[in-house]
């Protein structure tokens, strides 16, 4: 019997050891992607400066020609023709200068000399032309092709001069050239590893010309970037124009926010790009951690299916706007770590217009408006939201606030894929949305008739809106465009197309005992600028 018992226990241990052996004996896979066996990043090796950044989810694919999902890694691995500085002003990048013809249609970019991709090929006018041609090539079905829809003809004038002819004047043409989708990829590497080659591009191979080189990606675990020692073309708005000061950046994928906070407290993670609001107080009290807070290019709002009754009536939409107590929401749902929204764009944008009166809290006025619209006792509607914890809490508060004017709502919660499908099918009535974007043309994407039924999920078809958007997008100058967008917002506020609720706050936490010269970039959540960042040994 003792023998059998020993055999039983032995089998259990053997199984465990076999599994352990399987798991830790990893070698490189066929595609070059490492298996799960390599040690997880913990304390960096001696002398090597390793910055560890936590992210809650990683991009599915780093080929930004083929996917609409980009991460902060794109800003570190790639250079763009034009960059944006700390104040989101356009500054030279790969292009050291540019000029526009008098009719606003021909843009000429002078390419900086001496730049090269991580594979050693030169960054020149030919490389830049290849990238934009690839994005616009229907065979790649690139989601970002729409950003360059005005590009009619791209031309290499000489090795370091690139010329774009637009189909019509479009002063905002420069804006998409600064985005993470516009990082110039090495043509040679894309041909070799991309969709026409080994199909490894975006997972095992990623080749740009930025301050960091892509090194490895262990899915759902980490992405590793190493310093580009040849980098000498840092933008004007950073102090260090040469190679970065850290040797390696490890982006750890840690889905659970409380685990991220625990790892930061234990000193294994140096930067949290998104601090959960419930952890802000705790981290702020930690003397080894500095919490950065600031406004963010985003907006959260309650939207209506404006082609369905009773939301077709502007009085109903205005009543819903007046029924929302934004201050209470910001303090109750977001613990004060957000700002009340009174407009359709984030306040950081130059085109921003606000109207506190139209978005005031006035239950009595809201009831009167509903009565005039023929709903003295309110009405019933569904209230849909994505399953993000804050959005679900918000939906519950909205439900309670709307109940005060007699509007009874039934909350419906969807995961991200389900929510996108739900909106696409046009099943929504009232629904919570949040966008993160730094260009006023977000209003065109979400509210122009041509975008119906998706992404114009508000189902807003209005000739005045279309005209104002068209005028703004084809304005002869950026100043004129700004004025046109301000006019558009005043019209949207008057029509109460949405009920803006909150402007999110960007919150990052950094181990100040280890990381020096950290500065929070105000634009998107994941964008980080590491040219000047250093680590204490």
């Amino acid at each position: 019997m003792r023998k059998n018992l020993t055999v039983f226990v032995g089998c259990m241990l053997a199984l465990s050891l076999i599994a352990t052996g399987c798991a830790t004996g990893g070698k490189e896979t066929k595609s070059g992607a490492p298996t799960q066996g390599a040690p997880a990043p913990q304390a960096p090796p001696q002398q090597e400066k390793v910055l560890v950044i936590a992210q809650s989810r990683e991009g599915d694919n780093l080929d930004h020609i083929k996917t609409s999902w980009t991460t902060g890694i794109h800003f570190l691995v790639f250079d763009t023709l034009v960059t944006t500085d700390w104040d989101i002003k356009n500054k030279p990048g790969i292009a050291e200068s540019w000029k526009v013809s008098d009719d606003g249609r021909i843009w000429t970019f002078k390419i900086r000399k001496g730049m090269k991709f991580h594979d050693g090929t030169p960054v020149d006018a030919k490389a830049v032309k290849w990238f934009f041609d690839a994005v616009l090539d229907p065979k790649y079905s690139s989601p970002s092709a729409v950003d360059y829809k005005y590009m009619k003809n791209n031309r290499v004038v000489d090795d370091y001069t690139f010329e774009v002819t637009l189909s019509e004047s479009f002063p905002n043409f420069i804006s998409p050239l600064t985005s993470s989708y516009a990082g110039i990829i090495s043509a040679e590497s894309y041909r070799k590893y991309g969709p026409d080659g080994t199909k490894e591009y975006g997972t095992a191979k990623v080749v740009g010309s930025g301050p960091f080189k892509f090194a490895e990606w262990v899915p759902n675990d980490r992405m590793v970037l190493v310093k580009n020692p040849d980098y000498t073309w840092g933008p004007d708005w950073v102090s260090n124009k040469g190679p970065v000061r850290v040797d390696k950046v490890v982006w750890r994928t840690i889905p659970d926010s409380s685990t991220q906070v625990a790892e930061m407290e234990a000193g294994n993670v140096h930067v949290l790009l998104e601090v959960p609001i419930e952890s802000v107080d705790r981290l702020s009290k930690n003397p080894k951690v500095e919490v950065f807070k600031g406004p963010h290019f985003g907006l959260g709002y309650l939207a209506f299916a404006t082609d369905k009754k009773p939301f077709t009536d502007v009085r109903v939409r205005r009543a819903l706007n007046l029924a929302l107590n934004r201050e209470e929401i910001v303090h109750g749902v977001f613990r004060g770590l957000a700002f009340p929204a009174y407009g359709y764009l984030p306040p950081l944008m130059t085109e921003y217009v606000e109207d506190k009166n139209a978005h005031r809290y006035d239950v009595e006025e809201a009831k009167q408006l509903l009565s005039k619209a023929g709903y003295p006792n309110g009405f019933k509607a569904t209230l849909a939201t994505q399953n993000k914890a804050e959005h679900v809490r918000l939906a519950e508060v909205i439900k309670a606030q709307l109940a005060k004017i007699g509007v009874t709502t039934e909350i419906q919660v969807y995961d991200s894929a389900g929510y996108a499908s739900f909106l696409k099918q046009g099943k929504q009535e009232l629904f919570v949305r949040e966008y993160s974007y730094s260009d006023a043309n977000i209003l065109q994407w979400f509210l122009e008739s041509g975008q119906f039924p998706y992404p114009n999920h508000s189902r807003w078809r209005d000739k005045t809106t279309d005209r104002l958007i068209k005028e703004a997008e084809s304005a002869p100058s950026l100043d004129n465009r700004t004025e046109k967008y301000k006019g558009l917002q005043r019209h949207l506020i008057d029509q109460a197309v949405w009920a803006p609720i909150w402007v999110p706050m960007k919150i990052q936490a950094v181990r100040s005992d280890k990381v020096k010269n950290w500065r929070m970039y105000p634009q998107t959540i994941y964008k980080v600028v590491l040219n000047d960042v250093d680590l204490v040994p």
Binding site: M1, R2, V7, F8, V9, C11, M12, L13, S16, I18, A19, T20, C22, A23, T24, G26, T29, S31, A33, Q36, A38, P39, A40, Q42, R57, D60, N61, D63, K66, S68, W69, P138, S141, P143, A145, V146, T203, P219, N220, D221, R252, I254, P255, S258, T259, A262, E265, A266, N268, Y414, D415, S416, A417, G418, A420, S421, K424, Q425, F446, P455
Partner: protein, 296 residues
């Protein structure tokens, strides 16, 4: 039976995933892409074809051991599974070992010393641990032994030390159930005539328990072993998220949320195979524990 089971699993997963609302292509192309780009990407992945055709294509590829390509990650599913499966197996099997190494001895002693202080304390502990969700226990262990005392890595994967907290978190709940099961099994056996006869022969109590009672009392534990595998895989899914372990569970959850159909089908197929093989191995163990069982 294996082939019908596999076809049943793939069919059920295929239908459930396609019946659920959601669209992976909408996530790839984002809000701004024009409809023609959306349709083109759908066609690239064969999602424009009727469901019957899509399922047939999946089965045809499966015959060549090709699980397809992830829609979102643009990687072969087999490559992802090959990387993640050993991780989940390691977590699951070490959890299983923890649950038996703790649960079996505690159950034996509790059964033999029925009513003693040890019995009462251990059964109280068993109920407490059985009630604790593994992810909650994992968070507690992480904050205390990982952050506060720094005995173990807080999260991540790569060494044996990284697996200790997740394995213990997973195994303790199982140990509680194992201990209760072992105790009642011992109690059933210890009252039987042949055990009384052994005592009457004047054998020492340890010999009565370990040589005579334990042989029969262990048989239900082997049955439990097979059943426990599926339960442990479920627990591993949540613990992989808590401890940032890049196993099958993490990929499965992400793929379900993003409606990455080939990934979900591939992972579910492999997990089902693991459970079937685990039960088969448990059947083999019967013959080792109980010589009356013969394998044919």
């Amino acid at each position: 039976m294996l082939i019908p089971e596999i076809i049943g699993v793939t069919l059920a997963v295929f239908l459930l995933m396609h019946l659920a609302p959601g669209d992976p292509v909408a996530l790839i192309v984002g809000d701004h892409a024009p409809p023609e780009v959306y349709e083109q990407v759908r066609a690239e992945f064969g999602l424009d074809k009727p469901l019957v055709v899509q399922y047939w294509v999946f089965l045809k590829h499966l015959c060549r051991l090709d699980l397809g390509r992830s829609i979102l990650m643009n990687r072969p599913v087999t490559e992802v599974v090959a990387g993640a499966l050993p991780v989940t197996l390691q977590l699951t099997l070490t959890g299983l070992v923890v649950s038996y190494l703790i649960g079996v001895p505690v159950g034996i002693v509790s059964g033999v010393k029925r009513g003693s202080l040890f019995d009462q304390a251990s059964m109280f502990g068993a109920i407490a641990f059985a009630c604790m969700p593994s992810f909650w226990l994992g968070s507690l262990l992480m904050l205390s032994l990982g952050v506060r005392f720094a005995f173990f890595p807080v999260s991540g994967y790569g060494s044996i030390r990284h697996m200790i907290l997740p394995s213990v978190s997973l195994g303790l709940g199982g140990a509680a159930l194992t201990a209760r099961m072992m105790r009642s099994s011992i109690l059933d056996v210890i009252r039987m005539d042949y055990v009384q006869t052994a005592r009457a022969k004047g054998l020492p109590e340890s010999a009565v328990v370990y040589k005579h009672a334990l042989r029969n009392a262990l048989i239900p534990m082997v049955t439990l072993l097979g059943l426990r595998l599926g339960w442990l895989v479920g627990g591993a899914v949540s613990l992989e998220t808590v401890f940032s372990v890049p196993g099958m569970g993490r990929f499965l959850v992400n793929s379900i949320l993003n409606r990455d159909y080939p990934m979900v089908q591939g992972i579910m197929l492999v997990l089902a195979l693991c459970v079937v093989i685990g039960n088969f191995l448990a059947d083999l163990l019967y013959s080792l524990v109980d010589p009356r069982v013969e394998l044919k």
